[in-house]
């Protein structure tokens, strides 16, 4: 996956490019007028230029994941595999990925649970008769294009790679926990042993070896699939073409790269 180095087609449409430009312009105007500069003089200047070029560089690929809610059987193998693959402690109960069960009652009540992230299965629903609809929702880091966690990290210990994965530099993280607060999806957690913030990496070490993330590898019903956002032929591109797609909490404008098909409106 990593070995093919042909430059991919630029995935940004002219419209989004324009929007980005406008936002950058506003930032620049704000900076100039406030004179934030006292701090900026101290910050190395070349870095600033480097950052503005972001997104314009030759982007080869942008990773993303697709999840089909109608295929998920709630077996929790993804959560289990993730824990093994990424040395996530079994206890306390932190998860890079977990499965939620939604039960929507006929009276409008909505019950959600995720016992041990779904790894040990789900107990039977009480009073099954009063259930209007029920389904499973796998959750994980959305690797947002506009990631709030990256925005708030004070030292640059969490960052977005060229290929769109949001990662944590465990040797540089100061452990302030601001990213944990800023993530709208509860995807970040604080490692009680390493004392740094941790999260799903899209199994970046597996991608580097041409393999898919562990949760995708073990999903028995192909409810999860992995690929690239963009025009090149790949499983995710097809998934995005043939499904009505929803992302989580779109009103926050984080632009997630985990795409859901057949997602219920009650899911938050």
């Amino acid at each position: 996956m990593k070995s093919d180095s042909t430059a991919g087609p630029n995935r940004e449409s002219p419209a989004t490019r324009e929007a980005v430009d406008r936002r950058d312009f506003l930032w620049e105007a704000l900076k100039a007028s406030l004179g934030v500069p006292i701090a900026l003089c101290i910050v190395r200047v070349p870095e600033l230029h480097g950052m503005q070029e972001e997104g314009d560089a030759d982007v080869e690929r942008i990773y993303g994941m697709g999840i089909d809610i109608r295929k998920c059987i709630g077996c929790g193998r993804c959560a289990q595999a993730c824990k093994s693959e990424n040395d996530v402690p079994d206890e306390p109960y932190f998860f890079n990925t977990w499965v939620e069960r939604y039960v929507i009652r006929t009276d409008g009540e909505i019950l959600v649970d995720s016992p041990n992230g779904g790894i040990d299965g789900f107990p039977p629903i009480e009073e099954e008769g009063s259930t209007l609809r029920t389904f499973f929702v796998p959750k994980l880091c959305n690797h947002c294009e506009e990631a709030p966690c990256v925005q708030v990290c004070p030292v640059g210990a969490t960052f977005t790679t060229d290929d769109g994965a949001v990662l944590v530099d465990e040797e540089y993280c100061i452990g302030c926990g601001y990213c944990v607060q800023a993530c709208p999806y509860g995807a970040r957690w604080f490692d009680p042993v390493k004392h740094v913030a941790r999260k799903c990496t899209f199994c970046y070490h597996r991608l580097a070896r041409g393999k898919v993330p562990a949760c995708v590898e073990v999903c028995p019903t192909s409810a999860r699939l992995f690929g690239e956002v963009g025009h090149r032929a790949n499983p995710l591109a097809r998934f995005l073409r043939f499904n009505e797609i929803q992302v989580l909490k779109p009103h926050l404008n984080t632009k997630p790269k985990v795409f859901y098909a057949n997602l219920d409106g009650e899911v938050r």
């Binding site: 977990w98 709030p148 708030v152 030292v155 210990a157 970040r188 390493k194």
Partner: protein, 395 residues
């Protein structure tokens, strides 16, 4: 735990230490703004508290970053915030705002204000003490009229720069919370403003407490003109602060966005004591009414005529209640913002422990520490005017 929370939310990442941080910085900003009243706006009555307020601000500013650093997972890496600050992070600028305020505003203002005293002390003293004070003067020992006038003029200008800086310091702390869009309890454009005015409230109340208590211990006469003026300012500040808080509250209720249900549950349950009882009733309404009736804030001779000794006690009581109220505000923001799930479907729980880094004991130490620092500062740089008020009956 109640309802559904995301699995990773069972641990509250920001505990008691982070409650202390905005509380302490708020006191800094508030005390400084009080000091600036005397200097820039020529409020003669509060003159006796000018230097005291400055030293109070400095003492609390020195302690303010300690809880922050202590709560980090890797405190030894905290210097990175100066090395590679992320311009887009609200928190990254903390180091710079703090440094600006400490070096450029507070230390400079204190230095210019005290330079004459420092030079005189250095001349009189002997041995290491002489060298200590000489070092503090940085070798600028010119006491000519022109030099002293220059001190005064620059000090005034620094205060003028200092006011927006104090606003920045604490408004910015509010922004750290107010800009978190993931959290509907925090995310509010009013947050920095509310933080700012609650800071002013807490700063005035703190200086009032320190002034009243210190005067008592030094067996001096309280300048009631000063105390009355402080009380009036405290009253006005509470009015503005409370109005802003209510505006925020009503705005949320009226808009009733998707988070309203869980936030209502939060206020009616987990936050009832700290928000309704401590923050609003005891910390705001009781002082507001007492000060309104007792102090000369609403009518020149105050609504109820009360002897000075009792008035003083009421002021002290109000100031202490206000401190409890403001501490509750910080608690309700920091802890309250983590007591509900971002899934908006459940409530988490926070249990303060006694021992341990995030425990009550450490928090207690960090609350006492600024007063010890202040004690040392007062020893080094006596804030009391040369001519104390004679023990004459007050006007």
């Amino acid at each position: 735990m109640q309802g559904y929370i995301y699995p990773n939310e069972f641990e509250l990442r920001w505990g008691l230490l982070i409650v202390l941080y905005p509380y302490l910085t708020g006191l800094v900003a508030g005390a400084f703004i009080l000091a600036s009243l005397a200097r820039v706006f020529n409020v003669k009555e509060v003159e006796p508290t000018y230097r005291l307020a400055l030293l109070t601000a400095l003492a609390f500013l020195i302690v303010a970053p300690l809880p922050l650093v202590a709560h980090l997972g890797h405190p030894e890496r905290s210097y990175e915030i100066f090395l590679t600050p992320n311009r887009k992070s609200a928190m990254a600028m903390f180091g710079f705002v703090y440094a600006w305020y400490l070096m450029v505003v507070l230390l400079l203002e204190i230095w210019f204000d005290y330079r004459r005293d420092l030079v005189l002390t250095a001349r009189e003293a002997t041995g290491p003490r002489k060298w200590f004070y000489y070092t503090l003067t940085l070798g600028a020992t010119d006491l000519s009229d022109r030099a002293l006038q220059f001190d005064d003029r620059v000090g005034r200008w620094i205060t003028i720069i200092g006011i927006p800086s104090a606003f920045l310091l604490h408004g910015y702390v509010g922004f750290i919370f107010g800009s978190v869009k993931a959290n509907p309890w925090w995310s509010s454009v009013l947050m920095p403003v509310v933080f700012l005015f609650s800071a002013i409230v807490s700063g005035i109340a703190l200086v009032m407490i320190i002034y009243l208590v210190a005067t008592l211990f030094r067996s001096k006469k309280v300048d009631m003109g000063c105390a009355d003026k402080l009380a009036s300012f405290l009253f006005y500040a509470i009015v503005v602060d409370f109005s802003l808080e209510m505006l925020d509250f009503i705005h949320r209720l009226y808009e009733a966005e998707e988070s309203i249900e869980i936030l209502s549950q939060l206020i009616e349950g987990r936050l009832f004591v700290s928000l309704i009882v401590l923050q609003i009733v005891l910390g705001t309404l009781v002082p507001l009414i007492s000060l309104g009736v007792v102090s000369p804030a609403l009518s020149k001779r105050s609504i109820a005529r009360i002897p000075a000794e009792v008035r003083r006690l009421i002021y002290l009581g109000c100031a202490i209640l206000v401190q409890i109220g403001i501490f509750s505000i910080r608690w309700n923001v920091v802890i309250g913002g983590q007591l509900f799930s971002k899934s908006l479907r459940g409530l988490t729980a926070y249990k303060a422990e006694l021992l341990g880094l995030e425990g009550l004991l450490v928090a207690g130490v960090l609350l006492v520490l600024p007063f010890l620092v202040l004690g040392v500062l007062v020893k080094i740089l006596p804030p009391w005017p040369d001519t104390e008020l004679p023990a004459s009956p007050e006007a």
